[in-house]
Each structure stands twice: as C-alpha cells, then as structure tokens.
Symmetry: C2
Subunit: 368 residues, 2 copies
C-alpha cells in the first residue's frame, strides 16, 4: 500500500528546511518511492544567526534554546505546508512528516536535535516521526550517518559496486557493494563538506550564506601547510564507524589556520577549504565501479574541480536514478526512515553507525 | 483489556524519580487502575546539583545539558528497572513506560522537559511515552497542569464536590464538581509548594534536601511583611488557567526577602515559606464538600499546621481512595496519561491548561 510521507531535513549548514513529499510502497529495504514534490524553505537570517550562535560552544540561555526550538519547528511547519500546497496535497492524506530537527550538539553517545514535534503536528495537522538519532546512540552507535539505509534502498545495484558521496555541511560517503546485503554497507562522514567554506564566508560577512559557485575559492591559492595541518588531525585517519559535526570541523580548521585568519586571504582560505574537502573525500574513497555525488557541494564548481585534481570525477546522482535530486536526497532519506518507523521496522545500519544491533529509530507524535 | 504501564515522574523538587507500576483497564475517562508497585529512586547529589545549576537562569553549556539529559534518563531507567524487579514483573509484560522527564524550563508556550526516551526504551526494553506537555502548548495551553485528567478519572464523585491539593515543589489544586464532566474540572498551580523551603535549606547546606518534617519552620517566626510581599505578586491574583515553576516562585520569594537572607534567620524564613504556601492555597481554594491533600508537603507538619491556621484541614488522599498513595499520585497520573496516548485518546483538560481543544499528548518511542 502506498502512503505519503513528507521527509523534512535541515542540515549542519543551517540554511533552511528541505522537504521531499514522497509516496512510498513496500516495507523495509524493499520500499520503493514515487516523488510527489520538493520544497526548500530558507531559514530567516535571524534564525540562522541564532543557530550558529547557540552551537558556537558558548553557554546558552535555556529560554533562548527553547525559543530557537520553536522557531526551527515553525520553519519546518511552513516548509511542509508549502510543500503540500505546491503538490496539491491535503494534510489528511499524509501518513506522517518525518522530521530531522536541527542538530545543536553531536558528540556520541550524546546528540541533540532541537525540535518540537507536537508543534509541527498541530500546525500541519498530521502525525510526526522525529528524533531519529537517539535510538542508534542508545544501541551503542554514533547516531550517524542514517542516510545509508535510504542509499541501500534506493541506489543498490545487483552487479555494480557504488559509492555515493553527499556534500552538505559535512561530507559523507556510502559504499554499496554489488549485490550486497544491508550489512555489507560501509558509510561514514569523511570530514568537512561546505562547513568550513560557509563559516569563512559568514565570518567575513554575516549576511552571506556560502561561496556562490565556488567563485571565491577559484580566485584563491590553497595553503598547502594548512591543508596538511588539518588532514593530520586524527579524525581523518580513524577507521569507521565515525561521524562528526560542522562546529568540530570548523574548529580543526581554525586551529590549523589561525595565523592566516583575518589577514585578507579569504579567497586563499576558501581554496584551502575546497582542497581539504576534496582530499579528505579522495583519501577515504573505496574502489567502486561507479561514484556519484549529491548535496549542495555539487554547485561549488571549484570543489568539483579539486575533486577532479584528486582523480575523482563523480557522476551526478541523477545518473544513478533519474528521479534523484541532488539537493533533496537527504529529505527523501528521512521520508524512508519515517516510513520504516511507522512500520515498526529498524532502519539504522550498524556497519555504518557502529551500533550493536538494528533498532527502530525515532519517536512518533500522533496526529493531534 | 488490562495493560501494565509504569508511570515515572520527577518533579520540580528534583529529588529523584517516582515510579508507579499500574495495571489499567478501560479507556479514556473510564479507565480503572490496579496498583502493582511503587518505587522511588533518589537522584544522586551530583545530578540534583547539576539540575539546580542548569535551571538557575544562567547560560548552560550544551554538552552539559546533553550529559544531564543522559543522567536523568539513566536515573529513570534504574528506577523503572527496580520497580519492575520489586514487583516481579518482566519488561516484556509492560505496555509502556510513561515518563515525564525533568523540567528545565517552563514559560508557556515554551516548555522543556529533558529526557532521552530512546535510552530508556533501550535500557528497560519496552516502549516509552514521553514529552507530554508540548502538545497542550501547541494547542494554546500552558502545558500544565496535566494531572487533573487523572484526578478526574480516579477521584470524581457523583454527589460530592472535591478539591485535591497536591504539594510538591509547586502546589496545585484540582476542583471536581459533584457529578461533573471533565470540562467542569478547574485546576491550576496555586503557587509554591515546598520549593521555597527546599531552596532555603539547600542554600544553607547544599547537602540538605528539605526541612525534615518542617522542624526548622516550627522553630521560626514567620515574617509578615515578607508573606505579604510575596503574595502581592500578580501571579496569586491572576485568574486560572495558570501554571508556574519552582525557579519562578523562588525568585519572587528572593526578591521579597532579600533583606533577610543570609542573616541567620533560616528558621524564620522557613516558617515564612510555610505561611506563603498555606495562605496561597487557602486563598485559591474553591468551596467543596471534601478537601484532600497529597504530595511530599503532607510530611511537613508545620505546613499542615499553617494550613489549619488558614482554616483548611485537608484529609489525606487515602481517605478519597484507599489505594491512593500521597507520594505517588503524580506517577500514577502519568501512567494514566500514557495509557490514553497509547489508545490515541486526548488527555489534556482544556479548562485547566487553557488549551483551545482536547489533544492527544506525548510522543511514542517504540520498543527497540
């Protein structure tokens, strides 16, 4: 039986909420999808600034954390309502919204996604599945990455091994051996995606969101010493399972480049960030028949060029599946995770997260 | 069909977790209960101190908030596991744990109960219902009080009007008109319960939990001016629905008694706190055929004497129902709230919380 799920995701880049409205048939790893619509609702500049402030490592007033939780949840509900409206879909036809929430803190076994599922449920008028990461942490896992379940469902191939790279704030990869089972999946965060570049741009001008098309980086010269300094951090040599977060990666970069920051070398630092992202992905890449890429990073042409310099020319994710959308892959993934939870089926991938066992993820907030 | 629910509650006094293991039959307001066991697991002195520190109004490091969330959740799971063990009950026979979590912040429409339901679910091995307050807030309510639903289920009487006073950290009352419907229930927080007294004792000696039996207060003389100063705060004159929190009440007391604090008048301040609690309850009390009292405050003999001075001689809650337990009334209430959520039935009382409508409360975290 086909049911409609709205997957809603806001990543570590805190640019806004991606919603994928997906009709899902089947159960577990045999689910199939039919895309109904996509919608992106950008966070207001204020909310984005608040999120970055709250997770900058300084102590946080609880009243401000509560208010930010409310604002994030309202941004989710606006995004979902617009996605429904643009798809011509009534909330009563939606089985659930599967919402990731906004990560405020991620240091396994502790992880914190702020979100008010009851507010979303009341605003949209349907059930909500949320707080997906905790159950994996409770089973001894990192609580991340969770997208590999959907990667396996949607992108596995019987005779070709595949690597899927996703470059958001953080970059991660999923390796799907040819004809493998879900227990054969290898997936982990390779390190920074766009988070360092975004952070540099934002420090330079708080109104800027990112280095558009990588134009700044294209004008700069990478600082080899800084690249080596960052990549010598133990995170990059560590064996998976491993996961990280934007603030952690930005801090490593900041420590390695203190002497260059604030001295007018913005384009050089942006170029440096691209090389770090490209090289950390390249070093982590297992051999595979096909390599695909998705996430906002695909629009950073300098980053794509640096990946090519490292010998990696990933194909757009649309070449793996015609219906895949590079910017909404994670939102679709959360729709699938939500469907699994509604079905009472596990959806973590222990080989990716390090969990002791497969568990049902998330909490279900009923339609009010 | 009878199902076993473990109601688990930790109040604003942050003394620990109360667990009531309750067999529940029927649905909605026609539920009936059979008590299987009670268990109290005291928080460690460290955890208690951390909770008071985190909600003292100062900014909070998110890592510390996450760690405290974990420690609270583990204290809940220890409490539930011991309750099950002492009742000879296997986790597989429990339909769900209904857990309140630890309130860190309550300023409607924002409210924050820290809790990791997935960790409790993993530790105990059963489903969890949690985060009960948000849905009421999302419906325009205060998210509190929630116990009136259970008061109506368990204590309503066809021919006698009843008031139930509960004195925890905060004091609240529920008025149940004779033969009334759930929409006739009036309930609100009257103001401080033991929170001011607890705070005074803790400031004096951080190792102390409370004024045992009210002995300190019995030795003191209430400061009339301070009583009047506190009771002139607009909260006490405000019409219901209204709800408050320990830190807010302690702050009102602190503002009204600054000139006396730290000057060796501890017993006088404790006596003052008792009069404030007693008089604020007395002034709020609607006329009723029967008045009952529960909560930790019943063990404060000076507080009970001050209530008598105000003309109120409440009967112990056990006289309303032989199976009622003064210290576990709220834990039983959360078991009933959890059962309603599992049944997909609403359990807020809009006349008590101010919500626009009755809604299903809480989120359900599946058995992992």
């Amino acid at each position: 039986m086909e049911r409609l799920i709205a997957g809603a995701m806001s990543g570590t880049s805190a640019d806004g909420v991606d919603v994928a409205l997906v009709a899902i048939s089947g159960r577990g790893v045999d689910m199939t999808t039919r895309d109904v619509g996509f919608y992106h609702n950008a966070y207001s500049a204020d909310l984005r600034a608040t999120i970055f402030n709250l997770r900058a490592g300084k102590p946080v007033p609880l009243a401000e954390l509560a208010r930010c939780t409310r604002d994030v949840s309202l941004a989710y509900s606006t995004a979902v309502k617009r996605a429904l409206a643009s798809g011509g879909v009534d909330a009563s036809d939606v089985a659930a919204v599967a919402a990731h929430g906004q990560t405020m803190f991620h240091a396994p076994p502790d992880t914190m996604q702020i979100f008010d599922p009851a507010l979303l449920a009341a605003e949209v008028g349907c059930a909500v599945v949320s707080d997906f990461r905790r159950a994996d942490c409770a089973a001894g896992g990192q609580g991340a990455p969770l997208v590999p379940f959907a990667d396996y469902v949607l992108f596995r191939h019987p005779t070709r091994s595949r690597v899927l790279i996703n470059i958001g704030g953080i970059a991660n990869l999923t390796f799907l051996p040819a004809g493998g089972s879900i227990d054969d999946v290898v997936a982990f965060d390779t390190g920074p995606g766009n988070c360092i570049s975004d952070d540099l741009v934002r420090r330079h001008d708080p109104g800027d969101l990112y280095d558009l098309n990588g134009l700044g980086a294209a004008n700069g010269y990478p600082i080899g010493e800084a690249v080596d300094g960052v990549l010598s951090h133990p995170y990059f040599a560590a064996a998976p399972p491993k996961s990280t977060d934007g603030p952690a990666m930005n801090d490593i970069f900041f420590q390695a480049t203190k002497q260059y920051l604030g001295r007018g070398f913005l384009d050089d630092l942006l170029a440096t960030a691209c090389v770090i992202t490209a090289r950390s992905i390249a070093r982590a890449l297992p051999p595979a028949d096909e390599v695909f890429v998705s996430g906002g990073g695909v629009y950073n042409q300098t980053l794509m060029a640096k990946l090519a310099d490292e010998g990696i020319r990933p194909r757009p994710i649309e070449e793996a599946r015609a219906d895949a959308h590079p910017a909404f892959k994670e939102a679709v993934a959360f729709a699938l995770l939500g469907a699994a939870t509604l079905d009472g089926l596990p959806s973590n991938v222990p080989s990716a997260t390090g969990a002791r066992r497969r568990v049902v993820l998330g909490s279900i907030t009923p339609k009010p």
